[in-house]
Amino acid sequence: MTEPFTRLTAVAIPLDESNVDTDQVVPSRFSKLPIGPGHERVLFHDRRFGADGSPNEDFVFNRPDYQGAKILLARRNFGIGSSRESAAMAVWSFGLRALIAPSFGEIFFNNCFKRGVLPIKLPEGDVDKLFDYVAARPGAAITIDLPAQTVAAGPDMTYRFDIGAVQKMCLVKGFDEIALTESYGKAIADFEARYDAEFPWLRVQLGASAR
């Protein structure tokens, strides 16, 4: 269950790096923490904090212009690597609600929706323009309209993005897919009965005969 996501106007943090993997988003030593609220401290932990726990002033997240940001701008291939969902949870816990990049690691991309975060893929040229816009106006806001599937910055820039129908509905209404899936309970049961008849060799009891 997440908060409904419709329209958002908020400060965007520009993270000007490609190939940011989930181990940077949440270092693996934190991946055992039960996934839930309270992950804000671990987001980019080793980038935001020095070895003594004090904030690293050079890291863009710690600059005064970007405090209270709810949008992250990133470069190509954001969130690649490990499937840990704590990465998406940390993004949400920190207060970020949307990520904009030319491409994402696909597992991370899907995990975001489960944690109430909207990842938006835009063509690289559009992302470049958003970076330029924010660079010229540190702390400027960007507006995201999920029902209309648009990202807008200033009066002149509006970009449309694609999103899956299930992903959109779950975010806009703030509910888990499980409820939607269970409304197809009969279809699943019918499928399974047909499937088991057609592929009897798949019905093995895993484990039983290996012992």
């Binding site: 490609s18 291939n77 899907n110 690289e124 499980i178 699943i188 499937y195």
Partner: protein
């Protein structure tokens, strides 16, 4: 209409489709490890039972130590890891899921154990709580990793909402040269398409060089699909596949096998089927490769100069190259064969199967390790097989450490770490910053190259080592 291998499997698993968008896919097999404890928490929060417990297996692999295992859980130095495994045992027990825990004789890395027990079968859809679940595509399965919410969804419903990916075919013509492995081929592919080239795609690997690969090598190739950005990669099943599956405990037998074979033989891409993208690679030109940077597309031949970012036209890649060179403490024009390494890791879901260990042992027998070298079999079954072949003796006599099975130095979460600033020639799959420990520097290589590096202290093309070397 001509269809691809991927389409044939995917379409059979579509339960329904939502407003022409995502499909609800039926999942045949679910693969769990310690990290999947999160999924059981979600399931409990939803208050749902496991719909089909015996379609899942769980393995203790990420958090198990590779030494001191005879002492059981008491031998775990990292208490939090012990607790996670104990929790996984409780979760598996509570939900009647078959578990291969730290002390099980069949324990090993999920992506080694499921295939060797015959749980990975052609034509199935396999989902795991680990990004390298794509390994199982080697059998002609659609296999991919997910996060814990999607795992919980599968545990509860046996299904998953998924966007239909685009299809890419990578055709590798010719034959790989003597001593060139599937690891080298996979790195060559990622260098060609980029570490994001596969995003949005499911890959089919085809062509004569792929057909000639053993199942172990196909698993290595498919394992690295995600490092090229793809959700997964697959190889059409053939007699190599069916031969591997024969007599595996969970593979079909007798009349079931006859029926299964009839179906499995239809799992080929039809002539004339179209792909959204097609890439051709000449297998005979693939060299022994090693990564120099911090993503798996940043690779060179062992004796090839490291590229200069100044010559890279793409500004994003140029910046990534500069950052990688700084982190790795390397300069353009250097050759990896001239750079000393500090340690060697032979293991992981990429390269810890019996053929990998044979290839490494074949090199190890030619000399003696001059840096610490750790051999971690992918499963205890692989370990026993290797010991029955005397490979453990070869490694030990050459000064390599022979350890118990697990993910080990690939992720380091079990405590097997590469020290800050040190270089590891590693047969694993990710060379990200700090992947093998804070400040660690990883060079991805094949098992033969890793073993040769142990003998010389430099990344070395094993083919250059004479039989009487050292």
């Amino acid at each position: 209409m001509a269809r691809t291998l991927f389409d044939k499997i995917w379409q059979r698993h579509v339960v329904t489709q939502f407003e022409g968008s995502e499909a609800l896919i039926y999942i045949d097999r679910l693969l769990l490890h310690e990290g999947s404890n999160h999924a059981f928490r979600t399931l409990a929060a939803w208050n749902r039972p496991v719909r089909r417990p015996r379609s899942a297996i769980a393995c203790a692999d990420h958090y198990v130590p590779t030494v001191g295992r005879e002492r059981g859980l008491a031998g775990f130095e990292i208490v939090a890891n012990r607790d996670e495994i104990a929790l996984m045992e409780r979760n598996a027990h509570a939900h009647d899921i078959v578990l291969f825990s730290h002390d099980d004789p069949l324990q090993g890395i999920l992506h080694v154990v499921a295939p060797e027990l015959g749980m990975t079968l052609p034509g199935t859809v396999i989902v795991g709580g680990d990004s390298h679940t794509c390994t199982h595509g080697a059998f002609g399965a659609v296999a991919f990793g997910t996060g814990s919410s999607e795992l919980a969804h599968i545990l509860a419903t046996q299904t998953l909402w998924q966007a239909t990916p685009q299809r890419m075919r990578i055709i590798v013509d010719g034959r790989l040269g003597f001593g060139v492995s599937a690891k080298d081929l996979a790195l060559a592919i990622i260098r060609t398409i980029g570490n994001d080239g596969g995003i949005g795609y499911f890959i089919e690997y085809a062509g004569s060089a792929v057909r000639a690969l053993s199942m172990e090598q196909r698993m290595t190739l498919c394992n690295l699909s995600i490092e090229g950005g793809a959700r997964g990669g697959m190889v059409a099943p053939d007699d190599t596949t069916f031969g591997y599956l024969a007599d595996r405990p969970h593979a079909p037998k007798g009349a079931d096998l006859e029926k299964a074979l009839g179906f499995w033989r239809t799992l080929q891409t039809d002539d004339g089927a179209s792909f959204d993208r097609e890439v051709r690679i000449d297998g005979s030109r693939v060299a022994a490769l090693a990564s120099w940077g911090t993503n798996p597309s940043q690779v060179v031949a062992v004796d090839e100069p490291i590229p200069d970012p100044a010559n890279e036209g793409d500004p994003v890649r140029r910046e990534a190259m500069k950052a990688a060179l700084a982190y790795m403490d390397l300069k353009p024009g250097m050759r990896l064969c001239d750079v000393p390494i500090n340690c060697v890791f032979i293991g992981s879901c990429t390269n810890a199967r019996i053929e990998d260990l044979r290839a490494a042992a074949e090199v190890a027998r030619r000399g003696r390790a001059v840096v610490p070298a750790y051999v971690v079999p992918g499963s205890r079954s692989v370990k026993r097989q290797a010991e029955s072949e005397g490979l453990d003796r070869i490694f030990r006599d050459a000064g390599f450490e022979w350890r118990d099975s697990g993910c080990a130095f690939c992720t380091g979460v079990n405590g097997d770490l590469v020290r800050p600033g040190e270089r590891c020639a590693s047969t694993s799959n990710r060379n990200y910053k700090g992947r093998q420990g804070p400040g660690s520097r990883t060079h991805l290589v094949s098992p033969a190259t890793a073993a040769a590096a142990a003998l010389t202290g430099h990344i070395t093309d094993a083919r250059r080592l004479g039989p009487a070397a050292q």
